[in-house]
Symmetry: none
Subunit: 304 residues, 5 copies
């Protein structure tokens, strides 16, 4: 498999990583229909943990089966599949080698009493399951942030030492942040930056609005036009160590297909590296989901 | 990447292995031009350790450069590239993700005073270098066998625990074995069997002659026709847990291209899983080597 | 490189440290334009973590790129560059050997709800990134002090055991301390002393005012003239185990160049070992920053 | 060095300790002018941590230098020198072998918001610095007592496992205790007893008054004459496992020399094992301190 | 205890060691009648392991009792007592603090089939038994040398990390060495040098003859007069990193007292640091042994 120049350039940015981690980043970047383009579409299925099975899967009952998601990701030609331990254990052998996987190593749930995540899997699990990366969530701004970030940095360091990559979901919430502020441009950029600073290889954030939350930051954002999504994506990309780290954006709650495509175009035009699309894919019937993913791939290929 | 049925059947035989190890076996079985066929051609370059650099590379000077071999394996569309630590360290980052690699973790050398191998790399090296497998040599029959096999079983166990595969070079020598006996059919089959018994995923042996070395074994081999290479390969395959383990055959010293092709046809027809071809490839000029490897691939594809 | 007598004398004070730690202290003390003088100017870039990327870098956009800061520190001939994990990972290979680096292993951020810092990197990261030291912050006086100092002493012990140096940012805040008190002379001297007592090799404090915060300490400070900055620096130096530990002073928020130079002269005249200058350098355009750092170096050289 | 009978008898009481710990107790009991007598005078210099450098050292400025205290303890012929990490690191090599040292592994400070101590050094530090013992403080009665005592028992267990001794400062405070009660006879005896119960080899308490704090305890103390200091010391000694554990008494705040001598005589007459004298020695000019310590030694020798 | 200048100078040579190791070297150098002189006499009792109890002790039956040897070393005012685990365990508590001890951590025995030693105790044993050092034997020239030296370097590294010293018995034997060669000057100097190179603090070798064993070395030794024992001792001392490491000489098999005294004078005059005297002391009746050791001490004091 000849590594493309686009991917080669990205790998070169990870100059402190060992060849094992680079190879796993390459596996994700070379897999599927977007392989070689420097863009990625990832299927995450941790909603069972976060919202419970019925809220996640009843709308499309075949999705109760862990194999369903592996097959969907393979058939749609995606870059990687991310899920918690049990979901991967139930299919990793059947789909060994078929698609890069990301083990989500911490999780929250609907009954949690704090804005925190529990560590629910480890780096050694990722190795025995043949994963290319671990994934984990931090909540910047939360009262639990310090503990979360300390767990995160240890897991990331372990992953790196055994040649795995680390994908960090950085979701600001809690503390002094307003609800609107959780999606503010300054907050989103800061959250992405923090993920980079603790050593993430790939950052996942939500698409930001043009709200500026922090009074102290208003001056730094004044004088620029943040009205387009693409300009906001570009600012987040710059906040990810001037584009030296991969950043992908989540689709959020299930919504209309056109809105999903518009997001993808803005991510592409702003220089983002792709999408993580969970509920918007697996909560649709399989054929509809495949069609939707097909069009997202075409958008990232610049074909529409 | 859809795993083919041929590969799926092979992976299913490794029923006690974790998905990580299966994924790495799948990576080797799905890589290159033979990807998906259940056959493999592997490039091994440990001759610098075994015979010294000049004897190995002077005949084709570009081969002094570790990148030469990575590039050769990629360009020839091979299944994997196997080499000692230093050779991999010198290219693993540049070729991260381009081809599955096998870290040879023990080595002998021309000055060795015992029929033994020194452990010269570890499983942690294989992880940080992004390898799919470790490779190691045992010498059944040697006075050093006990120590070698103790080291081997520890390295194999470690590799399995972190999702790597283990390739065992099983070369009978020393002790009561005659020189002719090292290649005897009964000895070769026994050596392949021992490698399986200590947990190898892939066994590498030399192509056996029709000599039977052990007096006690003569009766068991009587009454069958061992005159064809394919029949002898088939016996070795059967000795590898009835074909439940992959077995590849080494090409031996540099020789004429036609002899190499004949070997490959015999391996194919006897049900062997492929070839490990070192000196017969990298000691030829690059274009000649690529042409030779192209034809071997075509043989395993059943096209000539 | 001949170690100068001034540096030799300093190293001899670290009489319980292993040669590895001494060598890393020597690297910082012998680097850059002040190399050999016993003085240091260090560039710290942890403001992205502390204040977010836009507030830190928007005023001088090239500073979004981690390579910018490495280059600035090298070009200005500084003694060391200090930054969080992600910032160092993104440039440590490109600038390997170019300048001593300090990995900041704990960090706060603008949204923190407690006066605390999270551990965001480890000693093993510092080793793999080739750092000379770890850096960490404690908040004497804070409700979180006990936990912070316990984390600190473990990280410091680990760093020492593998031959790294430890730089401790000691910033009094919280608890019963008044806002004015955070910069009080008695408070600053006490904070520097505590950093020494937990084993810091290099202490970083803010320049103190002549305010005396603690009623119980007033008597000890009575009868001396603390009106000059140099006299206050000298008292802090004495509080650092009678000058047996290096102490550098931070520049605080961005301000006019003349004020920065005046600070440096006071640090020099009071016997302090140098400056840590972040926002006052990288928030200026590069040429202006280089000119400013050039003058600071000249001040420490006693040339103006 | 022939161990004296007095010391032999003391060591025999530590019947569950390994020979390493006994040897370190012997080192302290055989060192200095009181060596062999079963009495000890220990110099503790942790006041810089507890009260800040100026309040501790400004009255006798040479005391800012860590070497000053090592030299004072050696020249006065004391039994041991106790200090926090930084103070020992700054002199342990220069004074290696010259006097037994005790590493104070936890510390409070003037700004602490809770009645607690932070762990600021570890057992491994004590080993690498050549210490004979670790020292640590507990606050019986404090809201933080449980956490402190759990840390203490772990540190004590570690110290014992590597042949070190443990000295416990037991200072009742906080919770329901009145200010007067902190020095009450019943409280002091109880605190000393608790230190013994968690495994201390040497207990350090303050000299008690004849106040009885606990209503429930009044009956037990009724009918005896507690008017003399010696009688109260004798009660504390009895509370230390019937004299099977060494107990030394602290001198408290700086005071007149005669008061110090009177304390020493009472400790001696009550059967206490000696004094820990910090501020009353190092806050005096060196010659005066040496003269004072000389007289204290003579008192314990029964010569005045 | 004021460390003498002679000892201070020796300790300063161990510039890479931590204060703990320095303190343990100081303990041995300051103990007993030679304390402070820079010379040492050590009692080793590992002959029970090496030659069996009867061959070792029957000639002086009280020597069967481990306490006998502790008492002998204490009464003779020796610098240290060295023995295997069981011997120390049986007396370390009774003699805690009375004399520095050295735990011999490897051992051979009369029935061994290879010129090798088994590791029979560990560094953690040395700590719990209150030892100042570990002792171990290597056999340069032996077929087992590589394994022995690998074990040795690990044990030495562990000892150093916890503040212990390491004494290495370096006895050339086996391989190509002739019997006469085992005591040759060039061989002895080389063996002492190897011990220093693997990190020994104290080296123990046998007194060399004037034979030169190695053909290649003859030229280097030509032109000098090696006829006196003192000149040969001086050469060994120089081979111990130019006198930067302590070297003591063993007395060999039991022999006449005058021969023992002559050896001691030669060691002293050649600048050696002392004697290790086992069989020549404990195989004599106690009073005779004490008289002999008394005279050896006087010789090292320069008094006869």
């Amino acid at each position: 498999m000849k590594i493309t120049k686009a991917v080669r350039r990205i790998l070169d940015q990870y100059e402190s990583d060992n060849p094992g981690t680079k190879a796993n980043l390459a596996r994700m970047l070379m897999a599927g229909r977007l392989g070689g383009s420097g863009r990625m579409v990832i299927l995450p299925v941790d909603q069972g943990f976060e919202h419970g099975p019925a809220r996640s899967f009843a709308v499309n009952p075949p999705a109760y089966d862990p194999h369903y998601h592996f097959q969907l990701a393979v058939d749609a030609g995606l870059s990687a599949y991310a899920a918690p331990l049990g979901m991967l254990e139930a299919g990793a052998a059947s789909f060994a080698g078929a698609i890069p996987t990301i083990l989500k190593v911490n999780s929250s749930n609907s009954w949690a009493t704090a804005k925190d995540q529990a560590v629910t899997a480890g780096v050694e699990d990722a190795l025995r399951l043949g994963c290319s990366a671990i994934g984990l969530t931090i909540y910047p701004g939360s009262e639990s942030y310090d503990g979360m970030v300390e767990e995160a940095r240890e897991l990331i360091a372990q992953a790196k030492s055994v040649g795995l990559a680390a994908v960090v979901w950085s979701y600001p919430r809690g503390g002094a942040l307003s609800k609107e502020g959780e999606l503010a441009l300054d907050v989103c950029a800061y959250a992405a930056h923090m993920a980079c600073l603790i050593g993430a290889h790939v950052v996942k954030v939500k698409l930001p609005t043009d709200h500026i939350e922090q009074t102290d930051a208003k001056k730094a954002y004044a004088g620029s036009d943040w009205s387009t999504q693409a300009s906001r994506v570009a600012h987040v990309v710059k906040s990810c160590l001037a584009g030296r780290r991969l950043v992908v954006f989540s689709g959020g709650a299930a919504k209309g297909a056109e809105a999903v495509f518009e997001d993808a175009r803005a991510i592409r035009d702003g220089g983002g590296n792709g999408s993580i699309i969970g509920r918007n894919s697996f909560q649709r019937p399989r054929e509809e989901a495949l069609a939707l993913l097909e069009r997202i791939v075409r958008i990232y290929q610049g074909r529409e």
